[in-house]
Subunit: 141 residues, 2 copies
């Protein structure tokens, strides 16, 4: 793999993502970076997201209809809102339960010529906004 350079764009992208707790799409990151600095093309955003993910600096999440990215690589899980499709953080899934699932899967896999080495856990439900019974009052009014 080619050596990596510290380009202005890559640094800005990483900083932006690290500073957010939502899980933005490439488009959303592009828009945000566009607003705060000059050069930053969409292609560059995509390419650098790929580079950073490959280096393990960020996480690439499979969203409902497009990829989402997470600057927090510490172990945690996500709640995907069935209504609006957003993703929110949840604390890390309990290790015991997780381990037990993976162990069972790994054992079965081994018996069948496969290998299971990871689990991905995604909770589904409703985010704060969509769980609220009535439309939120407009706090900006």
């Amino acid at each position: 793999m080619a050596p990596t350079r510290r380009s202005r764009q890559r640094n800005l992208l990483l900083r932006e993502l690290r500073g957010r707790t939502d899980h933005p799409t490439a488009e959303s990151l592009h828009a945000a970076l566009r607003a705060q600095s000059e050069g930053m093309s969409l292609g560059t955003v995509y390419r650098n997201l790929g580079v950073l993910a490959a280096q393990g600096e960020i996480l690439e999440l499979a969203g409902e209809d497009c990829k989402r990215f997470d600057g927090n690589t510490a172990p945690h899980t996500h709640l995907c809102c069935e209504i609006c499709g957003c993703m929110e953080d949840l604390p890390a899934a309990e290790d015991a339960a997780k381990r037990s699932l993976l162990e069972a899967a790994a054992a079965y896999a081994a018996q069948n010529g496969m290998e299971a080495d990871g689990v991905r856990i995604l909770f589904t439900g409703k985010c704060k906004n969509c769980a609220a019974p009535a439309p939120q009052t407009d706090e900006t009014a």
Copy 2:
């Protein structure tokens, strides 16, 4: 929702999917159905996959780069191969572990104004072919 009719195409699609244990993409289903009967457009495949999934007759899975479909709606989980991207069946994840994960997530969510009502569990690893150390011998030779 509009009443649903038993069109030839929808029946063929469901039969094809029920008869497979891989988790085909829309394209793959389209190709298979094309080969065995006359009329079956790609748009029709997509639309009917949507209808059947909405009716709970089939499952829609988020594959690595495109959707995959499963004619088996009985509880089970999947292994997504990191090498070739295919999805294979695994037995249902242990109920106890699953329940424990969901309970913990639901409790946290409730305290924070969210609702967690489901878990999606996906194992990652290698399928039978890709786990094999050397290239498989060509059984057709």
